[in-house]
């Protein structure tokens, strides 16, 4: 089966992929590299954190029940809870925005006039996004494993693998929403905006619900971040099955995108 559309989409993003890989690797490495000094000043920092409101601590991934100065607590708060998901989601939203963007700029006009269905074009473009985000996630994982070993951050590799799987699927869920909105509108800006707003609002809902704020506790099940319990995943070293719900979101969004793109006019430039 020819996957020329997917391969071209990947080829177009070679430099992008290198840039993002370097950025993510550098970010992860630098954050983990501070572990020794963080550990050595844990008493002073602990006092400071104790004085913070619960909601602020929750925002930065320092939930109840896990010592923020433990290796798992540190890796969670510094990498997996906020920064890495956000970086991956920004990359994923950018990549998926290009699908609608190319249509918006008339670049898909000649592709859609080829003997290939709209479904096939969209699926191959989505496949490229999935591959790109997976590669970035693997880069993050490999960097985490190597740097953690170098600075004696004692978290099992299995924990990191499962946490990386969770963050990858979370990224697909958000990017999938962007794909669906782009498929419905053919507009890059709308697709990216909606996906970004969903990501940010979800993060805030889950964090503030964790802090026990009533209204957010009600909304919590709607947030994609609620189903991304990376702290528990890191602590247990086993997969968190709620990630399957995120996979379901990504799958449903992809299905919706396929239906939507087939029930409208393609945009003329």
């Amino acid at each position: 089966m020819s996957t020329v559309v997917a391969r071209r989409a990947l080829a177009d993003r070679r430099r992008w992929l290198v840039g993002w890989s370097v950025g993510i690797a550098a970010f992860v490495a630098v954050n983990i590299a501070f572990w020794p000094s963080f550990r050595d000043q844990s008493d002073e920092l602990n006092e400071m954190i104790e004085r913070m409101p619960e909601s602020i601590r929750a925002l930065f991934g320092m939930g109840e029940g896990v010592d923020p100065f433990s290796p798992v607590g540190y890796l969670s708060s510094q990498v997996y809870t906020f920064a890495l998901p956000m970086l991956l989601m920004i990359a994923g939203i950018g990549a998926v925005g290009a699908v609608a963007g190319d249509e918006e700029h008339g670049l898909l006009e000649t592709t859609y006039a080829l003997p290939i269905s709209r479904h096939r074009v969209l699926l191959e473009r989505w496949l490229a996004v999935v591959v790109l985000t997976t590669v970035l996630s693997v880069v993050g994982l490999v960097t985490t494993v190597i740097t953690a070993r170098a600075v004696d951050l004692e978290v099992s590799t299995a924990s990191m693998v499962w946490a990386s799987l969770a963050v990858t699927v979370l990224t697909w869920a958000i990017a999938g929403l962007g794909l669906a909105v782009g498929a419905a509108t053919g507009r890059r800006g709308v697709a990216m905006t909606v996906a970004t707003v969903v990501a940010v609002v979800s993060y805030l809902i889950t964090s503030l619900a964790d802090a026990g704020i009533g209204v957010f506790e009600t909304l919590e099940p709607l947030s994609v971040f609620t189903h991304y319990d990376v702290l528990a995943t890191l602590a247990r070293g086993t997969p968190d099955w709620s990630v399957l719900l995120l996979a379901l979101v990504a799958t449903v969004a992809t299905g919706a995108a396929l239906w939507l793109v087939d029930h409208r006019d393609l945009r003329a430039a």
Binding site: S2, A11, H105, Y112, P115, L266, A268
Partner: protein, 358 residues
């Protein structure tokens, strides 16, 4: 992550074997049929009940001013857009239901040539060949040579004309049964325009159909067999190009010896069939508007020994004026005969102030 050219079948083999059962499209079956094809965008009507029939193997000109609905029609035929109502059948197939199967047999040149800026023409054409499962190296190289196309520079570095050449190669290379070309010669120099016309004629000579959309009469009149004229989403004329042109006013400027008695008066042309207007210009020149064959006029002119005769070919403006009139231009609801020019042949010509007739 280089994308290689698909090493599929040789392109010379493709025409018959690749064709799916066209659902009864024999050689006599029309290539395109639309019935009451309508497309609305909100409150605006882009295409209003288009009934069109394009015969297989002809070069069909699809004329109309910008915004008339030409590109909308093309996008409906390719299933890039969906009709609000009505139907279209292309090569015996339904554009929506049979989309990929149908598009295998179509070559499309879009009016707005938006191509990936960082990609070379060769890479894009290789992608297209791979999607089609064909080896198109040879026809691509041949077409590039004929058109003088540069396939090895990023397309973002190419001029509009050079990008259009690449898009033209993409449309022609797989020798499709139907070529759908939207404003194909914009930005091309005259020599390349000539090559394009040759390509279109060759395609038709091989029994393939060319659907050629343009807002410039000149772009289609030298190559099309028949034309349809679209205006404000409605079909206002459909006929052979020569018939259509012969119904239109052409303008001749005839120069005579300016001395008294050597320039014929307007009355000379009163009874000449086809002459609709006569204006005396200056220095022995007369401007004559003619509808239909030129023979009777030439016979009438001969005794006056004209020194020179220049004709102005009707252009799309004349065509539209002929069909709608200059001021009031109600869009007819059906293909119509040209409206008769306001001035009857026998009416005296309006004398030009600069007339030197004495």
């Amino acid at each position: 992550m280089a994308v290689s050219v698909c090493s599929g079948r040789a392109y010379g083999d493709l025409v018959e074997r690749d064709l799916p059962d066209a659902g009864g499209t024999g050689t006599d079956a029309p290539a395109i049929v639309t019935r009451a094809l309508t497309k609305r965008f909100g409150d605006s009507v882009a295409l209003d009940g288009l009934d069109l029939e394009v015969r297989a193997g002809e070069v069909f000109g699809f004329l109309g001013p910008n915004g008339a609905g030409k590109t909308t029609t093309i996008r409906l035929l390719l299933d890039l857009a969906r009709p609000t109502s009505g139907s279209a059948t292309v090569l015996g197939l339904d554009p929506r239901r049979d989309g990929p199967v149908l598009r295998r047999r179509i070559g499309y040149l879009p009016g707005d040539v938006n191509l990936p800026a960082r990609l070379t023409g060769r890479a894009m054409l290789a992608d297209h060949a791979a999607v089609r499962g064909l080896d198109l190296h040879r026809p691509v190289d041949e077409l590039a040579e004929r058109l003088g196309a540069d396939l090895d520079r990023p397309m973002g570095d190419l001029s509009l004309g050079n990008r259009r050449k690449v898009a033209m190669i993409a449309a022609f290379a797989h020798r499709p049964d139907l070529l759908v070309l939207d404003e194909p010669t914009g930005g091309l120099d005259p020599l390349v325009q000539q090559t394009f016309r040759s390509l279109a004629r060759e395609a038709a000579a091989e029994g393939r159909t060319v659907f050629l959309s343009s807002h410039v009469l000149d772009e289609v009149q030298h190559v099309a067999d028949r034309v349809a004229v679209l205006r404000a989403g409605r079909l206002v004329a459909e006929d052979r190009i020569d018939v259509l042109l012969s119904r239109l006013n052409r303008t001749c400027v005839v120069r005579f010896d300016p001395r008294p008695g050597m320039v014929p008066s307007a009355e000379v042309f009163h009874r000449v069939p086809g002459v609709t207007e006569v204006h005396h210009l200056h220095d022995g020149e007369i401007e004559i508007s003619l509808e239909g064959p030129a023979g009777p006029l030439l016979e009438a002119l001969a005794p006056w020994s004209p020194l020179d005769l220049a004709t102005h070919e009707p252009d799309l403006e004349d065509l539209f004026l002929g069909y709608y009139g200059a001021e009031h231009a109600p869009a007819p609801t059906a293909p119509a005969r040209p409206t008769d020019p306001a001035v009857a042949p026998a009416a005296p010509a309006v004398p030009d102030p600069a007339s030197v007739t004495r």
